[in-house]
């Protein structure tokens, strides 16, 4: 039995709206989703498992029709899906009334249920969010029903407000495979057994690293999975080390160069680090206009040789001031205060 497990597709999301690349992002999320459907068809995948948050918010009718149209083109694959915390089943949700194609099996009930696929000797369990938050550890009590030789759970959550998880309980629940959703970073809680597919496309500037889906195969009770990257872009947090003698133009060039190196298709959050010349201030707003940049955070500290200044000024106000910050860590708010104070004191030096 071959399956593909995706999660957190967030159709309808518009990451980085208002930025240069922002207009394309909403479309790209759909395109990558279509690509996965194409893979399902080409590789004759038996089950497409969608572990929640297929949509970013309450799906619109046209969005549901669009998604279902894509599903309906699958000649071999059957689709099982649950609703997550983002597309939770609200009282007026279209999920309640929408008529899906024959090969689509939603598990939209609030209580655990399963779909039986006798021809695949597989049963898929799951339930859906009917509210934005679920704080009870609902998966801890869930066990496989033993309906079919292969039993799979679709689960969504894993943090405090969204069904907190007990990894051990889940590992002993008897499911052959738990297809997890909610956490956007792809990772396995138990290798080949309990796996977060991660978001299909990154939807937020903090969804760093590559994204994709899980391709799995269950033969004779043995599960093998493989994570396959397919996202069109990556969010990358770039630390740019600033040296004291660098001018703002040089820093801009460094950023450009670094972006070229890491790929122009990717989207960057730039963090300026290190020591800058005490009298240089970076115009982050202007740097941001370079494109492909979501945000620039300036964490540089002015370059001061605190020890030398202290040695020269023991006993006077500068020395006293430095003493007030004795032992504070570089990078802390205290250190920033020390630098700001020194900056002001030395600027006022006649």
């Amino acid at each position: 039995m071959k399956f593909i497990h995706i999660a957190d597709v967030h159709l309808g999301a518009q990451p980085d709206a208002g930025l240069l690349h922002g207009d394309k992002r909403a479309q790209e999320i759909w395109e990558t989703f279509e690509q996965v459907i194409r893979v399902c068809e080409e590789e004759k995948i038996d089950l497409l498992l969608i572990a929640g948050d297929l949509f970013h918010r309450q799906p619109l009718m046209r969005e549901l029709k669009e998604a279902d149209y894509l599903f309906s083109g699958l000649t071999h694959t059957k689709v099982v899906l649950i609703a997550g915390n983002h597309d939770y089943i609200r009282s007026d949700s279209y999920y309640r009334t929408f008529r899906w194609s024959e090969n689509v099996y939603p598990l939209f009930a609030e209580n655990p249920a399963y779909v039986d696929f006798p021809e695949l000797k597989t049963a898929v369990y799951g339930f859906s969010y009917h509210s934005r938050e679920i704080r009870e550890p609902l998966y801890d009590r869930l066990t496989a029903g033993g309906v079919e030789p292969v039993e799979i759970l679709l689960a969504h959550g894993g943090d405090e407000k969204h069904i907190p998880l007990n990894r051990n309980a889940l590992a002993e629940s008897g499911f052959d495979y738990v297809a997890m959703g909610h956490i956007h970073k792809p990772h396995a809680l138990v290798k080949d057994r309990i796996v977060y597919a991660g978001a299909l496309e990154p939807v937020d500037k903090n969804d760093i690293g590559p994204h994709g889906y899980i391709r799995g195969e269950i033969t004779g009770g043995r599960v093998r999975t493989q994570w396959i990257p397919c996202a069109k872009r990556e969010y990358i947090h770039l630390d740019i080390q600033v040296k004291p003698d660098e001018a703002a133009g040089r820093v801009r060039d460094d950023i450009r160069e670094s972006i070229n190196e890491h790929g122009n298709e990717n989207i960057y959050k730039i963090i300026l680090k290190g020591k800058r010349d005490a009298d240089v201030l970076f115009d982050t707003k202007r740097l941001e206009r370079e494109g492909n940049i979501v945000e620039i955070v300036d964490e540089t500290m002015p370059e001061y040789d605190v020890d030398r200044i202290y040695a020269e000024n023991r006993g006077n106000i500068l020395g006293k001031y430095i003493e007030h910050f004795y032992g504070c860590e570089e990078g802390s708010t205290e250190y920033e205060a020390l630098c700001e104070g020194l900056d002001a004191l030395l600027a006022g030096r006649k």
Binding site: R57, L60, D277, D279, E312, A337
Partner: protein
């Protein structure tokens, strides 16, 4: 330290000029434009080098100012001095291309390294800032009047509070406040940008809601039309059924009439014609009534039929309306969900990292201010007393005992004490204020510097009367230090010749 020779190879307006100096008091006098400030700047440049400013500052920095008038590629000088009983020769090249400095001890020819701090050792901790704030004395740069007094007070407070006068405390606080204001403004801008973004979303919500309202109205209107059509349909059906009734009754009447007629023919053959006739009459009447009913039914059916012809068109309209209302409902719901999603999005916007960073900066600036205030208090307590004592002693000498003390009160106001009265500084003459200023600076030089350093006084005595000038020069000559006086008046030189080196 005693400077023995200044050799300006190429510096400002000077080229290949030697100036020889000696220990103790000396006066270098010259008219305006003689180059006194250049000499003064040369001493500073020899001691600390010439740093080039960055950006806009470069236009006004010392480097640009004293770049030689002739042959700027050659920009250099030599200073010879004694320190700790040994003679040194310090040579510097200031030019952009070949910036370098060499320091040689002339007694044993030992090469010392300026880069590695040998010169700093000889200077005993004298920094450019300290040089400017202590041993190099100029006039109080201020207009006479309140501004002059403010300048004095600001200076004196800085000296008393910081222990050296190197730092402008009020300016520092002001700068920190200005930075905090800037951070607050940046934060506001950031927030305004986010609010604008949210406003855009909310605007879309409002458009959607307006559309939804329009759809609702359309729906209501279509619904009433639909209801009206459906009512008309009902009356048509009723008319049809009553026509059927009439038809049925009419047929029954015709049949009964016919049966009565047959029966009358049948009995007329056997019995009296009269009775047969009466039966025939009754039958005829019944048949007639039946025929009438039939006709009425026929008309009713016709009418109903005509009505039914119209409902065919109506039915399509009803269907059309029903389809339309359903469509409107669907559209309305789609918009309603989209609107809800947008509102959700609006509520979700979170604090950006840029905002967090700015908030932190604000916090840091507040902390800097607070700690600085504490540091000021601590240093002030330590140094103010000592400084006050020293400055008072110098001031008393220069004024030949006319005033005994300089005092700084809790509010950091300066006043002087003449033995009986306390006189606020703002009531003193410009000359006396200059004398307080000099006293404070000299006190700071004494307090801060480990080594006796030459004092450089640049046109400081302009407002002194002869008596006080003599007293000041006497005090200076009694300090056992090299004192270099730059002046554009002949007065100082004469007094020195007449009174000091008799």
């Amino acid at each position: 330290m005693v400077i023995t020779e200044l050799y300006l190879k190429n510096f400002g307006k000077f080229a290949e000029q030697h100036f020889y100096l000696h220990d103790g008091l000396q006066v270098i006098s010259g008219e305006n434009e003689f180059g006194k400030s250049t000499l003064h700047a040369f001493i500073r440049a020899m001691l600390f080098g010439l740093e080039r400013g960055r950006g806009r500052a470069a236009a006004k920095d010392g480097f640009t100012r004293y770049e030689p008038w002739e042959n700027p590629g050659y920009y250099a000088g030599v200073m010879r001095f004694t320190c700790g009983g040994r003679n040194f020769r310090l040579e510097r090249d200031f030019s952009r291309a070949a910036k370098k400095a060499s320091l040689v001890c002339e007694d044993d020819g030992e090469e010392l390294s300026v880069e590695r701090g040998d010169l700093n050792m000889l200077l005993g901790g004298l920094t450019p800032g300290l040089f400017d704030s202590t041993i190099s004395v100029g006039q109080l740069r201020a207009e006479p009047g309140q501004e002059l007094f403010d300048a004095l007070e600001n200076h004196a407070v800085n000296y008393f509070v910081t222990g050296s006068g190197e730092i402008d405390i009020a300016g520092t606080f002001q700068l920190l406040k200005e930075k905090r204001r800037q951070a607050a403004r940046a934060l506001q801008e950031e927030e305004a940008a986010r609010t604008a973004e949210q406003e855009k979303i909310l605007q879309e919500c409002r458009y959607l809601e307006r559309d939804m309202k329009a759809l609702q109205d359309e729906f209501a209107e279509k619904q009433t039309r639909l209801n009206a059509l459906e009512n008309v349909d009902d009356t048509g059906i009723k008319a049809g059924s009553s026509a059927k009734n009439l038809f049925f009754m009419g047929s029954a009447g015709v049949l009964a009439g016919f049966a009565g007629f047959l029966w009358s023919r049948f009995i007329s053959g056997r019995t009296l014609a009269a009775s047969a006739f009466s039966v025939a009459v009754i039958a005829g009447a019944i048949a007639l009534a039946g025929v009438l009913l039939l006709i009425a039914g026929g008309i009713a059916v016709c009418r109903a039929g005509r009505k039914k012809g119209r409902p065919k068109a109506d039915e399509e309209r009803v269907k059309q309306l029903q389809w339309e209302t359903e469509h409107i409902q669907a559209e309305w719901k789609e918009k309603m969900i989209r609107c809800g999603n947008l509102r959700e999005q609006c509520e979700e916007t979170e604090v950006s990292d840029v905002q967090k960073n700015l908030l932190r900066r604000q916090q840091a600036l507040e902390m800097a201010e607070e700690e600085l205030r504490k540091a000021v208090q601590e240093t002030g307590n330590q140094t103010a007393g000592l400084m006050q004592e020293k400055a008072s002693a110098i001031f008393a000498s220069v004024t030949e005992g006319a005033y005994l003390k300089i005092m700084l009160d809790g509010e950091r106001h300066i006043s002087v004490w003449d033995g009986t009265r306390r006189i606020p500084a703002e009531r003193l003459s410009r000359g006396t204020i200059e004398q307080i200023y000099l006293a404070v600076r000299l006190a700071a030089a004494e307090a801060v510097l480990e080594e006796p350093m030459p004092l450089i006084l640049d046109d400081v005595f302009a407002f002194y009367d002869d008596k006080r000038l003599l007293a000041a020069l006497k005090w200076l000559s009694g300090q056992g230090k090299q004192v270099i006086i730059f002046t554009c008046h002949k007065r100082e030189e004469e007094i020195v010749k007449r009174e000091i080196y008799r």
